[in-house]
């Protein structure tokens, strides 16, 4: 792990002096000075719910001129929703927004932009085949009569780019630029409409270290110019370099807010994960065997992930923890043959497998339950029964590939009963089932195929609590049957409540493999944030402990 040393150095610097920018009295950005500055944007008591599920419950946030304000939280804590409310994508159900002390309503992103609030999305919103200048002034092109004033367009764009110190030609087509420069174009675009508040969503996720440093230089420049920056990132390790204040969200609530100087990364992590283990996890009845089932060695696909190595035993549930974009799904898809890989070996029962497509993987008994049921898991127009038999249709076919409909019905009914799939019958269209029941149909498909290794990718996303418990029980039952289970989940309680071991992913690699019984949410989160190596000992003692699985 070439990154480990860097992270270590970074972290030790952070521990001895958690404050990145020492408050020098003469510094115009000293904390006392900043608190006196007017709030460019203030959110108070923001509530937002989607279909009865609360995403935000009473969040306050203040963005002042010349500061970088970080918003931290786990996946699903409500960061994105909050950003979208700030930038006018969503309207809050309750609560108010104030710009320079005056109440405002952002009915659209255009309205937010008119008040100087602009969001730079993680996946950039640029038109690839237009030039830099054309992108910066898209839909605001300077006109001369009926025609675009190309000379002014170019000059204005150049001025915006100069302000950033970015060496990018305004005439270059955007698709020819590397991602980091495209990001600069996005920022230039924001500056061109005099953005006072810039919201940056995971700006460093696709940048190299050098590019990240350049970006931070630009951020500091903007801060000096009085721009307020809302900064969202999973990379806690990077935050110390630029962040002035921090707000922590957990399950839609604001749990902490204050100057970065007054806190530590430890405290932020503890606040992020302090979620109660309130969900009902069935006691683990199964005991992992000793027999090695799946061995993955040096699996990689640059730049998405790798090299990654781990093993899975018979009847074991192995968790894949980590933050969004850490490479968990990519690794799973590579094992399953859904995406190509650059290198590495996959062994099952000690035998090397040549997996080039899902057909190969399925033939060897490896199954993958996708995180996106609707896009990758089910043929929605087809019936429940047809979906259940899809991966193993030959088993219900007679000579010449004629489907034995009786056998198919019987099979489908069997699984509908064993898994408790709530449907009027096997004829029902898969589209009409609830999320939890759709997930069970996908699981039934793989059970019918007699899979030996099943990879579950976020299996409980978007399904209600009752159905979740049923799926947990099912996973335990699968393990008891001797099937090796890999559980990819962003919900730490789920990882702690169900798995035997946890592989924690950070930036495309496995940062640590931890025994579930002796770890905690904090320890996992530190490894996932790239801070693990320096911290592990401190957190194995304190903090929330994993629910002890019932073992004989």
């Amino acid at each position: 792990m070439p990154n480990a040393s860097l992270v270590g150095v970074l972290f030790s610097a952070l521990r001895t002096r958690p404050l990145a920018l020492p408050p020098v009295p003469a510094d115009p950005r000293s904390p006392s000075d900043r608190s006196a500055a007017p709030a460019l944007l203030r959110l108070a008591g923001i509530h937002k719910a989607f279909g009865g599920v609360a995403a935000l419950e009473g969040v306050d946030l203040e963005v002042r001129a010349g500061e970088v304000h970080a918003v931290c939280g786990e996946n699903g804590a409500g960061k994105s929703t909050l950003m979208k409310i700030m930038s006018g994508v969503y309207q809050p159900d309750a609560g108010s927004l104030h710009c320079h002390g005056k109440p405002v309503r952002f009915a659209s992103t255009q309205a937010a932009a008119a008040h100087g609030v602009v969001m730079i999305h993680q996946e950039l919103n640029l038109i690839p085949h237009l030039t830099v200048a054309e992108n910066i002034y898209l839909a605001r092109e300077p006109l001369r009569g009926w025609f675009i004033d190309r000379r002014r367009l170019r000059a204005d764009a150049q001025r915006c780019l100069d302000r950033l110190g970015a060496a990018i030609s305004p005439e270059a087509p955007v698709h020819t630029l590397p991602v980091a420069q495209q990001q600069m174009v996005e920022i230039a675009k924001a500056l061109s409409i005099d953005a006072g508040v810039l919201i940056m969503d995971e700006p460093t996720s696709s940048l190299t270290e050098t590019e990240t440093r350049q970006l931070f230089e630009v951020v500091r420049e903007l801060r000096r110019g009085g721009v307020g920056i809302v900064y969202i990132s999973h990379r806690l390790d990077e935050m110390a370099q630029i962040v002035d204040r921090v707000t922590v969200l957990r399950d839609g609530r604001q749990v902490a807010s204050g100057a970065f100087a007054d806190t530590t990364v430890d405290a932020i992590v503890a606040q992020m994960v302090g979620r109660a283990l309130d969900e009902k996890f069935p006691p683990r009845r199964s005991v992992p065997g000793t027999e090695l089932l799946l061995e993955v060695r040096a699996l990689q696909r640059r730049p998405a992930f790798g090299p990654v190595s781990f093993e899975l035993r018979r009847g074991e549930i192995l968790g894949f923890a980590g933050l969004m974009g850490a490479g968990r799904t990519e690794v799973a898809r590579a094992i399953f043959g859904a995406d190509p890989r650059d290198g590495g070996t996959i062994r099952l029962h000690g035998q090397d497998l040549a997996i080039r497509s899902p057909i190969d993987a399925i033939g060897q008994g490896i199954a993958y339950v996708s995180e996106d049921r609707k896009a990758h898991g089910l043929a929605l127009e087809m019936s429940v029964g047809e979906n259940i038999t899809l991966a193993n249709l030959a088993a219900v076919c007679g000579p010449f590939g004629f489907i034995r409909f009786g056998a198919e019905q019987k099979t489908a009914r069997g699984y509908i009963e064993t898994l408790g799939i709530r449907t009027p019958g096997p004829q029902q269209q898969a589209r009409l089932l609830s999320g939890g029941n759709q997930q069970k149909v996908v699981i039934a498909k793989w059970l019918f195929r007699q899979a030996r290794v099943i990879i579950f990718d976020e299996p409980t996303r978007g399904i209600d609590v009752g159905a979740k418990v049923a799926i947990y029980e099912l996973m335990d039952w699968l393990a008891a049957e001797g099937i090796g289970v890999i559980l990819i989940s962003s919900e730490l309680p789920e990882i702690l409540g169900l798995t035997d071991r946890v592989a924690v992913f950070h930036a495309g690699r496995i940062a640590a493999v931890l025994p579930t019984r002796h770890t905690s949410q904090e320890e996992i989160m530190l490894h996932a944030s790239g801070l693990g190596s320096a911290h592990a000992p401190r957190f194995s003692r304190g903090g929330l402990r994993a629910a002890e699985p019932a073992t004989p």
Binding site: L390, C397, Q428
Partner: protein
């Protein structure tokens, strides 16, 4: 069960429309409702139905085939040239079907290997196949093919004739034309294949959600490839039937037939998004188009007006279908 009922409503809707057309035309034209005209209509419908069955395969799997009109011309011309060169007629026609299948295979490769959008791949084939047909014939019709070449298109089963008092043959029953028998046989085989076999199920799965099918271990490329080969082979067969009926091979035959085939498929309830469609629906759709043409002809409606009416019928059926699904 709701699903089944919806399916039945769809079928009966199209069938009811068909019956309504028959009743309406029967009342406006005396010659319409007769065995002779029924056979004429059936004969006219065969080409639309054969191509429509191919289109149904391709469209259910999520593709489109614009090349069939040209492919049928190329296949027919090749069969005729072979027959003229002395190849026995059945063998020459098999050659035509094979040529069609080959064109389909190329379409399939362009879509699955070269990853071209089906619209573009088959548009290219449409021009290339037509061009070859015109090139090898010098844009002239191939005639003087002999009676045996016309047997498939003009012969019929159970034709009953009687010699009348003057010694002229009097047709008691015109018989069932071979093309109609061929259409029925192929429709039955295609329907069984699509609805009752593993292959058919996989075709539906690929069209419904190609990624889910791939992740379930379905060889999606092979399935898509298969549907284009079927479409091409049926176009080849249609070409042979059409040229046989005229006992002349026209390199300009079949222009715009691909659109009739797609229209028949769509009127019959096949979804252009893929995943949904039946052969029985397509056959009904073919008859809707065929009977409309025939009935309007008999009522002296001009060819231009006919185009307008058929265009409106397509828009109406698809709109009703969309509207029903949106509820």
């Amino acid at each position: 069960m709701n699903d089944r009922r919806q399916d039945l409503v769809q079928k009966f809707g199209a069938l009811a429309g068909l019956l309504l057309l028959v009743v309406a035309f029967s009342s406006t034209s005396e010659a319409f409702f007769s065995i002779g005209n029924a056979m004429t209509v059936s004969l006219q419908v065969t080409s639309i139905a054969l191509l429509g069955v191919g289109a149904t395969f391709v469209i259910i799997a999520g593709g489109i085939d614009l090349s069939v009109g040209s492919v049928l011309a190329l296949a027919g011309v090749l069969a005729a040239l072979a027959a003229k060169a002395g190849v026995p007629v059945p063998l020459a026609m098999a050659l035509g079907v094979l040529a069609g299948a080959l064109c389909g295979a190329v379409n399939g490769l362009l879509v699955t290997r070269a990853k071209l959008p089906p619209f573009i791949a088959t548009l290219g084939m449409m021009l290339v196949a037509r061009g070859i047909a015109l090139q090898i014939t010098g844009a002239r019709a191939v005639s003087g093919l002999g009676e045996s070449f016309g047997e498939l298109g003009n012969g019929s089963l159970w034709r009953v004739e009687r010699i009348d008092a003057q010694g002229f043959p009097d047709v008691v029953f015109p018989g069932i034309p071979y093309p109609v028998l061929l259409m029925v046989a192929i429709a039955v085989v295609a329907a069984v294949l699509l609805s009752r076999t593993r292959l058919g199920r996989h075709i539906h799965a690929v069209g419904s959600n190609a990624e889910a099918a791939r992740l379930s271990g379905v060889n999606t490329s092979r399935i898509v490839q298969f549907t284009y080969v079927v479409s091409g082979a049926l176009a080849g067969l249609t070409g042979c039937v059409l040229m046989s009926r005229l006992v002349t091979a026209q390199p300009n035959e079949g222009v715009m037939y691909e659109l009739d085939a797609i229209a028949a498929s769509v009127i019959g309830g096949t979804s252009l998004i893929g995943g949904v469609g039946t052969v029985s629906g397509t056959v009904i759709g073919s008859f809707v188009i065929g009977i409309l043409r025939n009935g309007l002809n008999m009522n002296g409606v001009s060819a231009f007006t006919q185009q307008i009416i058929i265009g409106l019928v397509i828009l109406l059926t698809v709109w009703i279908d969309q509207w029903r699904h949106r509820r």
